[in-house]
Amino acid sequence: MIKTRHKSMKAYGDLLAAANEQLKIINQPDTLPKFEAKFRETGEEKLLANEIEILQVNIGKMCNQVCKHCHVDAGPDRKEIMIRETMQFCIDALAKTNIQTVDITGGAPEMNPDFKWFVSEIRKLNRHIIVRSNLTILVSNGFKDYPKFLADNNVEIISSLPYYTASNTDRQRGDGVFDKSIEAIKILNEFGYGKEGTGLILNLVYNPVGAFLPPKQEALEKDYKRELWNKFSIVFNNLYTITNLPISRFLDYLIESGNYLSYMNKLISAFNPAAALNVMCRNTISVGWDGRLYDCDFNQMLELPLTDGMPHHIKDFDIKLFNRRPIITGRHCYGCTAGAGSSCGGATT
């Protein structure tokens, strides 16, 4: 079992906290096929973006948890937080487009002091809002009114619960996280989240707690629903299975545990052309805490900006330019194309 962290890799001064160090490892072994070559098995020459349907905004790296697999290297010590001026650029960008979905992530996005303002402003534009909540923040002091706020604003909640037992969940997310998560889901259920007919959506996320691929989404969702109802009388809408990408803390875990090459080979041998054609970066633009633009949240953490010639900051957002842009790829992209595929909305095939 890998070490429990109480702070981010950056706070510990780990070499691997730097994006360029991660890229050195991901790009290094010549024995592994390059993603760009493998992608051609889809019949398409290059991975190009389609029309943007989702604006994913990472409003900060601060988090009350320090999960072992976190691709953001988030934690209580991280100070990178989106300021209101940058949020206003996001609102301005939305206002001049037809993008229907805003996906707010972090860190724990609720910890951004302007979180409620941002949600309220997006709401005025009548767009669908998703918040990626870690659940435990919703039962933490200072945040206990957030479930009501989210319900009042009809915000869809997507939350990681990597397994339906405490032992697996806590091994990945920290001691006591499972119990607090269940407590939060009970409160969300009381507001109508996860219940049919309320329109309040609560989706859960499964991440493998280790160096293996996720199970089939539908089969696991049945197990989750049965176990969580039988043991805790709680409900949710959908389960999303998400593959861990070999970056940041999960990359550190793969190396520490001696699983890096076998995991990469597993991802590569499970390459699915159908999943590769459905990757989320085709219809998403990712905004960093400082307003910089990326193809996805993973490229954001690897500090791989949009291709040359594109606007690189949300204040210069021009949706017409992004359509058909070449997406920046690397071996980390094998995480989204393995098996049934993986995206922030779960399996893609």
Binding site: Y163, T165, P208, G210, F212, P215, A219
Partner: protein
Amino acid sequence: METYYNPEDLPKFNTMKEGSPELWKKFYDWYGAVFAEGALSEREKALIALAVAHAVQCPYCIDAYTQASLEKGSNLEQMTEAVHVASAIRGGASLVHGVQMKNVHSKLSM
């Protein structure tokens, strides 16, 4: 060769088709059909395979079906119970032969 069992041999399993492609194809198709979702779920089948792997003490199979069980959504508690089932059957199979011992003992003893 330092040991009879080498983890690197597991991915070479399909080289067994080289001696008899027809038989390999029959095995491969049948094997795939056996583990497909049916009256039992894929997760349940992987757990059965894991238990049997322990009963037949095949290290390749233990490796493969530990991974398969995880990737079908099983947890350590479920996998451990499956191994106990295999162990109980193995232990019970020895113990039940004790009846034969008793039969012989009975026949030979005054």
